[in-house]
């Protein structure tokens, strides 16, 4: 179970990385943390002719406040984001989700950007980005564009990134002081991909619930003008939201079961919102 041969390219600058993509585009796989890609290479599920290793690009490991957003560069490791005080302060939902991402050991190496670029349908980080209405920065040698998460995730493992583009940063809307958030998921074993994961925010009467693991991409529902999130309202919203989800079947759960979990978890997450008082 060894990778097929590839040309290894390790740029020292972002500019070099982008030029490789311009020149070789479709022949390249971009290596960030490698916690999914490494396994896919070993299994020869992917056999790129070039492996572009970003791991030396210090240009891609910053966390900064940028107008209404907290921006995290693509190579910020999950472990470092978990330890980061600004992440906890400005994107508490991400801080709530990160302990569920993989394992202690894979978070040491796995990155925020890599997880979003990989776009696994059950992954927590894409779910949080989509639920918060965040954006993805894509760069080519010539231009930078920002794509809303809702436009970025196209299907399971399929994104809007073009072959010559590099995912360089994630833009997370900063929590306003009144926002509350909750994250819950259901997996068979701890550290497994969730069968269903639910992220949830409540802000000035606007409730957003995101679901991962059900369909091919994160699915978000929004309710506005909520006055009170009482138990009956929670039940109604959970039922309605789950009924509208696209749900798939696999060995771990049928589509019906996923829909059921979505309702259970959505209720749980909303209940947690009503209890939550301290954010950071």
């Amino acid at each position: 179970m060894k990778s097929a041969p590839f040309k290894y390219m390790r740029p020292d600058t972002l500019e070099e990385a982008l030029s490789v993509l311009v020149e070789h585009g479709e022949d390249v796989r971009v290596l960030a943390g490698g916690q999914s890609l490494g396994a896919m290479l070993n299994m020869r599920i992917v056999t790129p002719s070039i492996l572009l290793d970003l791991n030396l690009l210090t240009e891609l490991s910053w966390i900064e406040e940028v107008r209404g957003f907290l921006a995290t560069a693509a190579l910020v490791r999950q472990r470092d984001a978990l330890d980061d005080a600004t992440v906890r302060e400005h994107i508490p939902l991400l801080a709530q989700a990160l302990p569920h991402v993989g394992h202690y050991q894979t978070r040491n190496r796995g990155t925020l950007g890599g997880s979003v670029a990989h776009a696994d349908p059950s992954a927590e980080i894409p779910l949080v980005l989509a639920t918060l209405g965040g954006e993805v920065e894509l760069r080519t040698a010539r231009q930078i564009r920002r794509v809303k998460a809702s436009q970025f995730f196209r299907s399971a493992l399929v994104t809007a990134r073009e072959p010559d583009e590099l995912l360089t940063a994630l833009y997370w809307p900063r929590r306003n002081p009144a926002q509350r958030s909750a994250f819950v998921e259901f997996a068979v074993r701890e550290g497994d991909f969730a069968i269903v994961a639910v992220a949830c925010t409540l802000d000035a009467g606007t409730l957003r619930i995101g679901f991962a693991g059900c369909g091919e991409t994160p699915q978000i529902i929004e309710r506005t003008g909520l006055v009170d999130l009482d138990a009956a309202t929670i039940q109604t919203i959970a039922r309605e939201a789950s009924a509208g989800l696209a749900c798939q079947s696999d060995l771990l759960g049928s589509s019906e079961y996923r829909r059921q979990l979505a309702a259970v978890l959505a209720s749980k997450a909303m209940s947690a919102l009503t209890r939550e008082t301290v954010h950071a």
Partner: protein
């Protein structure tokens, strides 16, 4: 020496651990025992059932660094099929010959300078297959319409025997109640973290194969491997590595690879190393047998179990691989379990299916037997309105009945089953649990209590394997019996103690326990005893029964070592007696010193006595024949062949176990929460209690895994769905609940330390204990593990929990499709072109060539058929594929039917689509399609979650390009270019839709 001073019975730290903890222990893949090693990789069938039309290895052979490629033709030329007990017509070679019969079966072996190159070359081997309808379910294998796996044999039923003990029919006739239970018990894989490994070398000068392998025995398989290689015993030298990374039985199944790699080394003319990878292990090492059992119990009015009627259908996978069908017979002589049943009938069948061949996996035949038996006992308790524990107490062998001879011939030598059950009830706080259950039920919660019992067999009499033969057949074959253990105690010229044992441990601490045993006999400290557990068939203390199975270490191997130690001690005493001037009987051997009360000299170092026997051989004490090198065999004479009524003692020692669990199920999610788990064991005397505790906890982890998480799962076409550690889910630390362990000790009179063994333990009993509690909590009668939340949730709603893996039902009315694929969908595309033009485009190979992404050529091979050659090169996925396409049922210009079938290294797929074209009234066309597709091979094993979306995207891409083409544009890579995943190759698998 008083008992309290003995080393045996103490929880000393293990001598194995320092090397393991510092990275100095040497496992199979750490060995480079001969110069010039090269490395093998194995090409494996992506089909569970297919004729192999051709294998072209020329391109692989030409790759720089490749030394040789071993093909099935070579294997047939250089070896014989691996023999089995039943029939020569059931041919089993270590690779697929003419036909592949399970997913992952070896098809060719590439030998190269390193593993990376070997795997590169696998991608260059071209195999043409003709797939056939797979037989996956054991009950389907019985059907007359099922594919016959071994045509020469002529039937999928490879073994059939019936047995009767007592007069069960009379008992059933007079029974007050008859309780029946049917179970289709799944297959599991013990998955040690170290996989199989083999290094093989061939010496052409003397025709000898030397093989290093983490094979764990039974060494009865050594003659079978020799036979397959067509060599004498001394021409296959097997050597085990110093350390082995776990086995739980499964490393028995490495022996076909010993044969395969021996042949590879011979063909390559170089020593070859092969280390199995995890995907190979999960697909093609070995799994426990699956078993469909119907058990009926005849009870009298008071709930006494009078008789059992058993019908067992064993799924041995694709080949009848020795020692199977032994799993069907491991428990045969204890079919009454712990109960006083005098009347039993058994109807046994074994079938072959397109699944991995079976072999030893923890519990070998035990879980498959105790699960239905103990489910039936619970169903009976419910029928009698009796407490489940009470019903069992009423039926177990009574304390005053030991030794108890079962009607099938076993002798349960000692025990106190009632005491064990009571201990479990007491430790669990049974009355409180019952009260909690009442309360929980009032609160609408699903709280259940489960209890189950088992007799665990230790030191198998190898004769039991021959129960698969009739008495008449047995009389004509070589008699087999016994359960010998062997050990040699050596004291070298410097007086060091070395012990050779034949148990081939895989992590159980045998070296530590053996040091305790021998230290007690010859009066030295355990740390002064060097125990050698690596086995070499050219030396050491091995015999045909050697190996690590059926708890033989704690029973017969330690007994043999005790005998060898006694022989050594006798010599030491004789030597000491001469110097001390006393009778040998008066000499005490303690703490490294020989002394005698009232002797004339100071105590003498034991080490020095041993040295003297070497250095002063001309002056040996009376009755001593030389220095200490004492081989002892412990071979119980009670273990004989089955009698004419198929009765026999199948094992030397019989332990007892009672498990009790209390759990609660969240009905909203199907998640089970374990509140309390108690396991009570009577394994006789404990040789090292800490090691014993490790065995109990480890056995529980396996049992819990089999009960809650693990299952070897196949799709309806025989594709393995549990092919990675993501999908074959072993328990990790957060899932495993605490276990409360209780020991009740009734020593075995049959072993020299009174030990009985408990290595299988909870792995046999935990699945059914959990099932009984889940049934208690939910009222569901028909339960098969694993109790994954998603399965349990469906079960609690009275639904099929495994619909996902089943063959799809025919499409609902209205569907035009004939293919019952697992992936289905439909769609509509508006195309801005006249209908006839769309029609013509779809039927024009030249035009399709520019529409199908990556299509290099498309050629008509008949009026309806095409072959498309397509290069996929998307985001790092590359490859050239030939896809067969058929366009038929044409109703120009309204509708047509397309079918496609393609294959690649990653898998295969077939699809069918029904396409209709309608005019939209404005000069354009509305194209509607309905599709059905199936995916097999590696791709299906890896990515269940992804496939639906991928098919949709691929179709969308095709139609995008069709639209663009008809608009006169050059189709761009479009959506296809955004496919970032490995599964983009699916495009090939399906052909254009």
């Amino acid at each position: 020496m008083s008992t309290s001073e003995k080393w045996v019975g103490r929880s000393i730290e293990r001598f194995e651990d320092e090397a393991l903890l510092t990275g100095q222990a040497r496992f199979m893949d750490d060995l480079e025992p001969v110069a010039g090693l090269c490395y093998a990789a194995i090409l494996r069938s992506p089909h569970s059932c297919a004729e192999i039309l051709s294998i072209d290895v020329e391109a692989a052979r030409k790759l720089p660094g490749v030394i040789e490629v071993l093909t099935p033709d070579d294997v047939v030329a250089m070896s014989k099929p691996i023999g089995n007990l039943i029939s020569r017509k059931l041919q089993y070679y270590p690779c697929a010959v003419k036909r592949a019969r399970y997913f992952g079966e070896p098809v060719a072996v590439v030998i190269a300078e390193d593993r990376y190159i070997a795997e590169d070359a696998l991608d260059l081997v071209v195999v043409k297959y003709e797939p056939k309808a797979a037989v996956v379910d054991p009950e389907d294998a019985l059907s007359s319409s099922a594919t016959v796996l071994h045509e020469e044999f002529g039937s999928n039923v490879v073994h059939e025997r019936t047995f009767q003990y007592g007069d069960p029919e009379a008992q059933f006739a007079k029974a007050a109640k008859v309780v029946a239970c049917k179970v289709n018990y799944p297959r599991v894989n013990s998955t040690p973290i170290e996989t199989y490994g083999v290094i093989a070398d061939f010496d052409a000068s003397n025709g000898r194969y030397t093989v290093w392998s983490n094979f764990q025995g039974p060494f009865a398989l050594h003659p079978i491997a020799c036979d397959a290689l067509r060599v004498k015993g001394h021409q296959l030298r097997l050597i085990s590595p110093p350390s082995s990374g776990g086995s739980f039985g499964i490393k028995q199944g490495v022996y076909p690879y010993i044969v395969l790699l021996a042949l590879a080394a011979r063909k390559a003319g170089r020593p070859v190393k092969w280390i199995e990878d995890r995907l190979e292990h999960l697909a093609a090492s070995s799994a426990s047998t699956g078993r469909v059992t119907t058990v009926e119990g005849a009870f009298d009015a008071e709930g006494h179990l009078l008789a059992l009627r058993l019908s067992q259908l064993e799924n041995v996978g694709a080949y009848l691989r020795p020692p199977d069908p032994a799993a069907l017979y491991r428990m045969h002589s204890t079919l009454s379990g712990p109960y006083r049943i005098r009347h039993i009938s058994v109807d046994n069948k074994a079938v072959v299916t397109n699944q991995v061949p079976s072999g030893l996996n923890r519990g070998f035949g035990g879980p498959q037997f105790y699960y239905p038996l103990e489910r039936m006992m619970d169903l009976a308790a419910a029928k009698f309105g009796m407490d489940a524990a009470e019903l069992r107490l009423r039926n177990v062998v009574r304390s005053d009945e030991f030794p108890y001879d079962t009607v099938t011939g076993s002798r349960l030598e000692s025990g106190d089953y009632r005491k064990c059950i009571e201990a479990a009830l007491e430790r669990a706080g049974y009355p409180q649990l019952l009260a909690r259950r009442e309360q929980a039920r009032r609160d609408g919660k699903h709280f259940g209590i489960g209890i189950a019992l088992a007799v665990e067999t230790s030191a198998s009499n190898m004769a039991y394997v021959n129960l698969a033969l009739t008495h008449a057949q047995r009389l004509k074959s070589l008699p087999k019996s016994g359960a010998a253990g062997r050990a040699r105690v050596i004291m070298d010229p410097l007086g060091s103690v070395i012990v050779h044992i034949d148990s081939v441990p895989n992590g159980q601490g045998h070296r530590t326990v053996m040091a305790q045993v021998v230290a007690d006999e010859i009066g030295v400290l355990p740390e002064d005893v060097e125990v050698v557990s690596d086995l070499d068939t050219f030396g050491g203390a091995w015999s045909i029964t050697s190996g690590n199975y059926s708890n033989r270490f704690s029973t017969v191997v330690t007994s043999a070592a005790k005998l060898a130690g006694q022989q050594a001690a006798r010599k030491l005493r004789a030597a000491a007696a001469k110097e001390l001037g006393v009778d040998p009987d008066q000499v005490q051997l303690v703490n490294g010193m020989a002394s005698a009360p009232g002797g004339k000299n100071e105590p003498i170092q034991i080490r020095r006595l041993a040295m003297q026997l070497h250095w002063d051989a001309g002056n040996l004490p009376d009755g001593v024949d030389g220095s200490i090198s004492e081989l002892a065999e412990f071979s119980p004479s009670s273990l004989t062949v089955p009698d004419e009524h198929d009765r026999m003692r199948s094992s030397l020692a019989y332990s007892f176990q009672c498990d009790l669990v209390a759990l609660e199920i969240n009905s909203a999610t199907g998640r089970v929460h374990i509140e309390k788990y108690v396991t009570v064991h009577d394994a006789g005397n404990l040789l090292n209690p800490a090691v014993v505790e490790g065995q109990v906890r480890g056995g529980f982890a396996h049992g819990f895994g089999a009960g809650m998480l693990e299952r070897v799962t196949y799709a309806a076409d025989g594709t393995l769905l549990s092919g990675t550690f993501q999908d074959y889910m072993c328990p990790t630390a957060p899932e495993l609940p605490d276990v409360d362990i209780v020991h009740v000790i009734t020593p075995s009179p049959n072993t020299l330390h009174g030990a009985k063994g408990l290595g299988d333990g909870c792995s046999m009993l935990t699945p059914v204990t959990l099932a009984n509690a889940i049934a208690d909590a939910t009222g569901i009668k028909d339960l098969t593990p694993p109790f994954l939340p998603g399965r349990l949730w469906h079960l609690m709603r009275g639904e099929d929990p495994d619909a996902f893996t089943r063959k799809r039902q025919p499409p609902e009315t209205g569907s035009a499709l004939t293919l019952k694929g697992a992936l289905r969908g439909d769609g509509t595309v508006a195309i801005d072109a006249p209908r006839q033009q769309v029609w013509d485009t779809l039927l024009d190979p030249a035009k399709l060539k520019s529409i199908i992404p990556g299509c290099e050529s498309i050629d008509a091979t008949g009026p309806e058929t095409f072959i498309a050659r397509v290069r996929v090169n998307i985001a790092g996925i590359g490859g050239l594929y030939d896809t067969k396409i058929r366009i038929f049922d044409r109703k120009e210009p309204q509708s047509l039917r397309l079918s496609g079938r393609g294959e690649s290294k990653l898998g295969l797929g077939e699809g069918e689509a029904f396409v209709t074209l309608k005019e939209d009234g404005g000069g354009g066309t509305v194209l509607s399609y309905e599709y059905s597709a199936d995916v097999g091979g590696r791709v299906a094993a890896f990515g269940q979650r992804m496939l639906d979306g991928v098919v949709r995207i691929l179709l969308a891409s095709f139609f995008d390009r069709l639209r663009a083409y008809l608009r006169g544009e050059t189709p761009s890579s479009g959506l296809m270019a955004t496919v970032r995943g490995w599964f983009a190759m699916l495009q090939m698998l399906r052909g254009p839709k």
